[in-house]
Subunit: 350 residues, 4 copies
C-alpha cells in the first residue's frame, strides 16, 4: 500500500523502514529536512511540505501521524483542511484515548476516518516487529491489514508459538492477536489498551528495580554503621553480608525462571554494561499513559496500588516529594525535638 | 514513691521533673555529669554511678530506664548484677517488644520484675502529661500506679471528658484509659501498643504531608512549562492556578474539621514559623517502631498499605531508592532510547 | 442576615439551626415537604417552591445550596432563570472545584455571584461549629462574614487557643483561620482545599484502621494454625499471644499521645459501643473528594502513596479487586499447579 | 552422579525425572509410598526409609531435600544422625535464608556440607529446565555442577542467546548464569536471591492483574448506574464504554510488546481457557518469600512500595482487611451519619 508518514523521529523512521521492507510505498515528512533526506536515501519519497505530501498520495490517502502526544492537535489542525472524504488518518503515537474519541468525531463529520494505534516495541521493533493495539471503525482497520501485518511482530498472519516453545497460548482462536496486532474496539480502544500496557510496564519495571535494590543493599550489615541515633540500628547485621553480582542474577533469571521477560533482558544488558549505573542520575520521566491508567482505575473504582506506587516512585525520583519530606522533618522537630539528617544516606548524584 | 531514673535526655529529664512535681522522690543518673547536675538543682538526688544509685534507693528498688533502644541491652548488663530480688526495672523507651519478652524472663529468673512502658507525648508531655502504654505483671503495674498517675495526661484517675466537650467517648468503663495510662497485657504488651501507635503516627504525618504538598503545587498551571518532551504536559493548566497559604489552611482545619488533631497543631505551628520549611533538608529519620509495625502486619498477614507507604517515603527521602531509580532510567534508555533528566525538577537542597 | 437554604438533609438542616441560633433569618426549601415543616417548627420560614423562596427573600438574595454533588447541576438549572443581578449563590456541598470554576463564570456572566464553601464538621458541627473553606470573589466573601462567623467553630472572630491549651499555634496572624473559616482564593479554592481535607481524612482513617487491625490480630499465634500448605506458617507464634482491648487502647491514646485527634475520639466511641463492629459489613463508600485528590496529585506529579492506598482500600472493600485476585489465583495454578483457598480466612459477612 | 531425593511432590518428582533423563542415578524417598512407586516405574531406585536410602547411596552421599519449608527442620532432624562427614545436603525448596545460615553451621560442625538452592520454573521446568540460584561453599557447588547443568534451563554450559534472538544479553562473561544456574555466594545466598525473585514475581503478577482489571471494567459507563448516594457518580460515562476481549489483549502483548514475559503467556492461557475465571474464588495464598522480601527491604531501609502492595493485595483477598474496613464504616457513621453498603458492589463468590 501507499502511506504518508508524518513525524520521522526514532519510532516514525523505523516504522517507515519496516513498511518499505515489506514492499509498501512511503511518502515521508518531518519538520526537520534532514530526517526526510535520510529516509529518502533508504527509498522513501520525501515531501517537503504537507501540501506536497497530499499531492504525492493517491486517494483515498492513508496518513500515519507519529509525533509526540502534545503535538498531535497542531498536526491535525494543519492537516485537516487538506483532507478529503475517504482519507484515513492513523495516530500511532501515545495520545490520550479521549482525544481520539473527539478527533474521530470531528474528522468523521467530514468523511475522514480516524484510527488510533498504540504501538509498542521500542527501538527493537524494527528488527522483531511491533505490537499494535488498534481502535476505530472495524472495516477501515480490516482495509489497513497489509500495513499492520508488515509492522507486527509475527508477520505471516498465522497463530504461531514462539520459537522456544515456551509460553504458547493454548487453543488460539484469534489469529491476529497471535500475529502481533489486534483490533480492540471503537475509537480510542487502541490507545486505551496501550495506556494500560504502559501502566503495567511501569509496574513491572518497578518490581525489578525494587527487587534488585534490595539485593544491592544485602551487604548493609558489613558496612560501618556509624549509628545515627535517629535511625534504627540493624538488629541482625549477620544476615546482611552478601555482595551480589546483580548482572549475573538478572541473567540467570532469564533462563527458566518465572520472572523471565523481555524487559529482564534489558535489565541484564544494562547491568552487564554498567554495573553501577553511574551514568544515570535516576530522575525518571513518565509519559502520560501511566498517569491516565491511574485516572481510569479511579474512575472505575478499581484498586491499582502497584501501578500507582510505580508511578509515584518516578515522581519522587524527580524531587517532587521534597516539600512533604521537609514537613515530616518539621513535625518531628516540633513535637519531639528530633533533628533529621542534613544530607541523605545515599547521595543521588554522587 | 522513690524512683531511680537512668538516662536524663530530653524525655528522661522531663519525666523526672513531672514526677517531682507530684511529690515523688527521684535519684538520677546519666553518662553526662552535667545532666545529673541540672536535675540536682531542680531537687533530684544525683547519683554519679550505678553503685551509688543502688545504695541511695530503698528496696524494693524502682529503676526507670530512659535510654535509646540500642543502649538498653548494655544498660541492663551493667544493672543486672546490682539488682536484688523484688526490684522493679521499667523500660520506658522505644524498645522492641520481643526484647521485653526475653528480658522479663531473664530478670524474672532472678526475682526481678520487668515492666515495659511505651511513653508518648514528646516535649509537650512535661506540661500536659504523657500517654503511657504498660506491659508486664499486672500486680506490679498496680503497685506502680502512683507513678503512672503522676506522669499521665489526666492525673486524677477519673474518666474525664476533654475540656472542650468534643470527642468525648461515651459510656467509659475504663477509668485508667481515660486517665492517660493503660495496662495493656503481659510483658511486651506496652511496647507492642506503642509500636502500633508510632506506625499510625507515621501514617497520619504522611497524610498531612502529602495533602499539603498537593496544595503547595496547586499553582503548577501558572508556572512556565518549558515542556520537557519526556514529561507529560498538563492537560488543563487552568485548573492549577491557586497559590494557597498553607499555614492558614492548617490553622483553619484545627477549628471544627474532621481532620483536627494534636499533630495538626504542630503542622500549623511549623508552617506559621517557617512557611517554606527551608531549614529542613527533608531526609527523614525513622525509629524502629514504624518498621516493626510493618513486620507485625506481615507476620499476621494483615494488609498495612498506608503505614508501609508512610515508612517507605522516609526511606526514599534519605536517598535509599536511588539505585532503583537509576535502573528505571537505564531500562528506559535500553528499550526506548529515552534520556531522562540530569537534574531533578525540585532540587532537594536548594 | 437573611438567607435561603435549599436542601434540608442532615447538613443543610443543621446549618439552618446554627444560623438561626445566631440571629439570622432563614427561608428554607427541600424536595421533601416534611423537611421544610420540621424547620418551620424551629422558627424558619418555609418555602414550598423555588418561586416562593425567591419572593420571600429580599435582594440581593443569598442562596445556600446544600444538596448532593450530583444534584447541584440540576438545582442551578432550576434556580438560574429566577436569579437577578447581584444575587449570591453559595454551594456548601462537596462539589468538584472545576465545576465551581465553570459555574462562577456562567452565573457571573449574568451578574450573579457564586461562592464555593467546603464545609467540614459532620453531625457534630451543629454543637461545636463548622470548619469553612471558602472560594470566590473576595469582597463577596467579606460581605457574607456574619454568616461564616455564625457557622464557624470559633465564633467571636478572634484568634483563640483551644480551651485545653494544647496545640496552640504560635504567632497567629490570620484571625479568621483561627476562627474556623478561611477565604482560600478565587472560585473553586474552597472546594479544592476541602477536597484535600477529605483526602487527608481518608489517609488518617486508614492509618487508625490498619493499626488497630494489627492490634486485633496480635493473638494470631494463639490460634489453631491448621497449617494450610499454601500459606506460610508463622515463624514465631510466641510473639503473637496478645489479646488487646481495642476500645481502651483507642481511649488511652486520646490522652497525651502524639496521635490524639478528633477522629480518634470517634474511634474510641465506636469501639466502646460495639467492640466487634458486627453491625458494619465493611463495604466502605467514597465520595468524590478522595478520588479528585489523587487526580490532582497526578496532574501535579506529586506523589501521594498514602492517600492513594487509603482510597484503594475502600475500593477493595467493595469487592472491586475480585477479578484481579482471581487472575492471581489463575496464574498461580497455571505456572505452579497451586490451588488457592475456596473461602477467605476471614469471612467478611460472618 | 548419584543422588538421593527426599520429597517427591510436584517439584521433587520432576527434578528426579529431569536428572534421570540426563543420566544421573536417583534414589528416591517420600512419606507416601505411592510417590516412590511411581518414580520407580520410571527408573528410579525406591527407598522405603531414610535408613534404606542412606545404605543405597555411596559416600560421600548427595541428598536433595524437596519438602515444604515448614517440613525442612523435621526432615533434617531425621536425617542428621544418619549423615557422615563429607556428605552433602541440598535444600532445594523455599526455605528462609536465615535458616540456611544456621543449618550450614550446625551440619558443618559435623563435617557435612549444606547447599541452598532456590529453584524456579514451576511445572514447566521439567520440559524447559529450571533456573537455579545456589548458595554455600563454592567448591562443593563446583563439584555438583553435573547436577545443576542437568537441571538448568540451558544445559550445554555455554552462554547462548535465546532462540528468538530477542533480549540477548550483550558481552556475556558469566557462562553459568546464561546456562540457567548461578553460584550466588555463601550459605543462604541462593535462597536470598530466590526470595527476591518471588518478591518480584508477586509485583509482576499484580501489575498484570491490576491492568487487566482496569480493562475489564472499561465498560462501567454502560452499566445501569443506580446511583448510590454514598458513591461518587462517574463524571464521564461516555469514556467507559469499551468491552474488551482480555484473552486477545494478553495474547497480542506477547508479540513484540515491552511487557512480554513468560508469565504473560500464562495469563493469555488462563484467559483463553476460562475468560471469566469463574473457577477461581480469588483468595490468593502467599508463600514466605514475598513476606521475607519486604522484611529484608525494611531491614535495609530500601523502599519497596510495589512489592508490598502486591503482597497486601493477597492478604486482602483472603479477608484480612475486614476489621479495618468495618472500622472505616463505623467511623463514617459516627462522624457523618453515613450508612455504607450492606453488600459489596462485586460479590466475590457469585
Amino acid at each position: 500500500m501507499q502511506l504518508g508518514m508524518i513525524g520521522l523521529g526514532r519510532m516514525g523512521a523505523d516504522l517507515v523502514r519496516r513498511l518499505m521492507r515489506h514492499g509498501h510505498q512511503c511518502v515521508v515528512h518531518d519538520v526537520h529536512p534532514s530526517a526526510i533526506a535520510a529516509l529518502q536515501q533508504e527509498g522513501a519519497t520525501g515531501a517537503a511540505s504537507l501540501d506536497q505530501m497530499m499531492s504525492l498520495l493517491e486517494g483515498p490517502r492513508i496518513l500515519w501521524l507519529m509525533v509526540p502526544a502534545a503535538a498531535v492537535e497542531a498536526a491535525l489542525a494543519d492537516l485537516g483542511p487538506r483532507l478529503a472524504p475517504g482519507d484515513i488518518v492513523i495516530d500511532g503515537g501515545n495520545s490520550y484515548y479521549r482525544d481520539d474519541m473527539r478527533r474521530s468525531v470531528e474528522l468523521g463529520a467530514r468523511g475522514v476516518h480516524f484510527i488510533d494505534v498504540g504501538t509498542s516495541g521500542g527501538i527493537a521493533g524494527l528488527a522483531r516487529g511491533y505490537c499494535l493495539m488498534i481502535g476505530g471503525e472495524e472495516d477501515v482497520v480490516v482495509y489497513l491489514t497489509p500495513l499492520f501485518t508488515a509492522l507486527a511482530s509475527t508477520t505471516d498472519g498465522v497463530a504461531k508459538p514462539k520459537p522456544d516453545g515456551i509460553g504458547r497460548t493454548m487453543g488460539l482462536d484469534a489469529p491476529t492477536a497471535a500475529s502481533g496486532y489486534l483490533y480492540c474496539g471503537l475509537s480510542g480502544a487502541g490507545h486505551f489498551v496501550k495506556m494500560i500496557h504502559n501502566g503495567i510496564e511501569y509496574g513491572m519495571m518497578a518490581a525489578y528495580s525494587e527487587g534488585l535494590n534490595i539485593l544491592k543493599c544485602a551487604n548493609i550489615g558489613a558496612q560501618q554503621g556509624a549509628a545515627d541515633a535517629e535511625v534504627t540500628p540493624l538488629h541482625h547485621p549477620e544476615y546482611y553480608q552478601y555482595t551480589f553480582n546483580l548482572a549475573d542474577i538478572a541473567e540467570v533469571w532469564r533462563h527458566g525462571s518465572v520472572i523471565d521477560s523481555w524487559l529482564l533482558g534489558k535489565v541484564a544488558e544494562v547491568l552487564r554494561t554498567d554495573p553501577t549505573l553511574a551514568q544515570f542520575a535516576g530522575h525518571v520521566s513518565d509519559s502520560g499513559e501511566g498517569r491516565w491508567s491511574i485516572e481510569a482505575a479511579i474512575d472505575e473504582a478499581v484498586p491499582a496500588p502497584v501501578l500507582s506506587a510505580a508511578l509515584y516512585a518516578r515522581f519522587s525520583s524527580r524531587g517532587q516529594s521534597v516539600f512533604a519530606d521537609q514537613l515530616l522533618s518539621a513535625m518531628r522537630y516540633a513535637f519531639g525535638g528530633h533533628v533529621d539528617l542534613a544530607v541523605p544516606v545515599t547521595p543521588r548524584d554522587a
